[in-house]
Symmetry: C2
Subunit: 478 residues, 2 copies
């Protein structure tokens, strides 16, 4: 990333003007397009806003940009002179398209994290660097001879990785399957995307948990699906609600995250799993079981997955490495009937021609390596430690103002706020105090909830992060 050089003879504003002129001349900002605001540029470049204002003035005097009050600063179109030339109306193209943009809160969080690297991150649903098996992966990579053919991958994914997963799924999740029933994806995100694009049609009704990670995914709306809610209590969703939604709305599919649910952390009880499967088989209704967190249980392992108890073939099972090893590997999997695996593999080929085989080889080796079990043991211990620290900090800083149930696995704590504070204000105030989290409405919940991810922050950041959040909350309570 380009940054102005404080040791340069040129002034900061001249450097910035030159830099912007270059980006404009290269076509990053074509004629007529909007430049980032002075405030945002100042934040990105680590300078005062007045410096950016001087740089803009310089570019304006050269006729390169134009500002109109209230509509921002744009690249001049007048420089074409007598011959009219037209840049495509890129902003209209960017607003078009059937695929919807991300939720504003999610974009704001991403932007804030990019702008302020020192923010304490309770928002990103991933592991911190010290929890990822970076050393293990590095050593597997350096030992391995990459002599195999680096051509396009098998449409279902690397065969050695699928074979390793057959053993892994049986040993760790009690799922008996074959390599030909497995589709390797880049993670649960892609698995869900393929399901919504290829197995459902616009107008189809589906049931999702309330609250649910799925609400944070505009992909469900982009696919034109009608979403119906299955409220979650301390034992997960109520099976009879599925039957009621089927009768009323003819739902075509049920999306569940039964273990340490995102965001609530709840575990679907064994008894409800059985009843859910009975109801699904009674109705011929498919269940999508997203199971990213089950190996992060701190004490007791969660019940067997629905897939392991499914003798009718109702369940599409999804898992990934993202929450138990490294999200940067981008390796996940689905276990599904043959016809579904073939359909999704074919569609994925068309969307991206499959995954790189290098991370798949590494993932397959890691699954079979003696390094896996010690890594998982350590991961569980460290996550529990972080969870405990988060809960202590919340009790210390916000006693009486928050309510939560301790999650027994996973990466997230779902927290009810007693004071009634608008979410957007709380998020902005919290960012000012150095902490970022995800507002509960992102998961479709009623107002007044927050999701804290305790896996991503460093251990020593948890207490100061919650202290910052508490300051923000209290500042808005007056």
């Amino acid at each position: 990333m380009w940054m102005p050089d404080r040791n340069n003879k040129k002034t900061l504003y001249e450097q910035i003007a030159d830099h912007l002129e270059q980006r404009i001349s290269y076509g990053e900002f074509p004629p007529g397009s909007l430049l980032p605001s002075e405030r945002r540029l100042a934040e990105q470049l680590g300078v005062n806003r007045s410096t950016v204002i001087s740089a803009f003035a310089e570019l304006r005097s050269m006729g390169i940009i134009e500002s109109r009050s209230g509509s921002g600063t744009r690249v001049s179109t007048s420089k074409w002179g007598a011959t009219p030339k037209h840049t495509p109306n890129w902003s209209r193209y960017a607003e078009g398209g059937s695929f919807l943009p991300n939720l504003p809160f999610m974009r704001r969080i991403r932007e804030a994290l990019a702008q302020y690297p020192s923010l304490i991150d309770f928002a990103s649903g991933e592991l911190s660097a010290d929890l990822a098996p970076t050393q293990e992966i590095s050593s597997l990579m350096s030992k391995h001879e990459y002599t195999s053919y680096l051509g396009y991958d098998n449409p279902q994914g690397s065969i050695p990785l699928r074979e390793a997963l057959v053993d892994y799924l049986q040993q760790h999740r009690g799922i008996r399957t074959t390599e030909s029933s497995i589709l390797i994806t880049s993670g649960s995100q892609q698995s869900l995307y393929l399901i919504t694009q290829c197995l459902l049609s616009p107008g189809d009704a589906v049931a999702i948990e309330d609250p649910s990670y799925c609400y944070s995914l505009p992909m469900f709306q982009s696919a034109g699906l009608r979403l119906f809610r299955l409220p979650v209590d301390q034992d997960g969703v109520m099976p009879e609600d599925v039957r009621a939604l089927y009768k009323k709305h003819r739902i075509k599919m049920v999306f569940l995250n039964p273990n340490f649910q995102n965001p609530t952390g709840t575990v679907l009880s064994s008894e409800r799993r059985k009843r859910l499967l009975d109801i699904a088989s009674e109705l011929g209704l498919p269940i999508v079981e997203d199971d990213p967190f089950s190996l992060t249980s701190y004490e007791a392992a969660p019940p067997l997955p629905l897939k392991a108890m499914d003798n009718v073939g109702s369940v599409l099972y999804m898992g990934s490495f993202s929450k138990i090893a490294a999200s940067g590997l981008r390796v996940g999997w689905m276990v599904a009937p043959h016809s579904i695996v073939e359909r999704l593999a074919d569609a994925r080929q068309q969307m991206d021609f499959g995954l790189s085989i290098i991370p798949q080889q590494i993932a397959g080796q890691f699954l079979q390596s003696p390094l896996l079990l010690p890594h998982l043991d350590n991961l569980r211990m460290q996550l529990q430690f972080k969870r405990d620290l988060l809960m202590e900090s919340l009790e210390k800083e916000l006693s009486g103002l928050v309510e939560f149930v301790a999650p027994e696995g996973g990466l997230h704590l779902w927290c009810k706020l007693i004071p009634n504070i608008p979410e957007g204000k709380l998020l902005e105030e919290s960012i000012k105090h150095g902490t970022v989290f995800v507002p509960g409405s992102v998961y479709g919940s009623d107002p007044g909830y927050v999701r804290f991810t305790f896996a991503r922050a460093k251990l020593e950041q948890i207490a100061p992060g919650i202290a910052g959040f508490a300051k923000a909350l209290r500042a808005l309570m007056v």
Copy 2:
């Protein structure tokens, strides 16, 4: 992949029956679902069809499967007995979804290549193993310390890779750009997918070359686009055709592959490039420039890309490693205005949460490595060698029956067949003779054309492959 064991005490048909019973019990083939045909299973498992027939008979006698003449063999549903249980109607789900399946010819080719590993492959548009820089990549990997954080990637892709691409694009393609204008994708396939999903709406008209690789992509139909043709002659498309299509159909975007076009191998002339850009800027019309082959030129480099001459910001530029290094890396790029890069990066996050950083690191290192230029020199020489051998073989085997223009770069030769043979028959007959190619209609052309990819086959396979094709053609001429 499971294969029967000829040294096992059990007979082959018993082993196959056990194996299928297991796959059925694990849910790969749920109750009511269709099993692969006897013929296909026999091919996959390398046994006589009579062996599969015996295995099916065994399973039928156990009540596990049911066959009805004309509708294939299905897994029994009757075993549920008195309590009715229902498997989701997976085949209906697999047929649903807004995303269309691949073209039948493409699926047939993929299936044939999977079934008969000895087929000589003139169909897959990629490099053979000996042309990929496997040694170079292996050595970069083993030397590199993967100590960096394996978290989710930057939404636009790895910053060091984008910085390396800024130098690469300037040096090799005369494109001046900045890392903030670059989006890393998994290849041109994903770049095109993002454009069709995010910048265009159902019903929009777009122009594509005729013939064109784009016709082979049902993603254009899946996005609901109306496709209009720009005929290609020896100098590429006619610029005035773009204006005519704009007037008549208000096309919203033009997709071009100006260098060694897939499938025809033609190069868009310099003069037409300039006129195209003039017309695009007159109409405010975006051009998508797909440039995967330009570094494979055997003699003279092709003209500068449109992007390098574009001073209005009309061009979205796409490139990738797939055709110049290794498709298995899954690393490509787009250069685009800022607003477009942000929009596509946001959508890609939602679809698959970005790429693995490992192949991106390797690709960035390879771009900056002294190994790159010798690799490219060797690649060009070897490709030219393979092209020459293909042309010699065609002239020797099919003199007077085929016509073609020698491509001066790229991986493909576009070949007109003089005899009038139905494409499907020719493909099947050719597979029987050990050779596979892509029928021209896949690229939207008139009947009577074939695309031969000469990069994928081994050097010593080219002559026998064309001999097999010639036998198939002659067999159908009688």
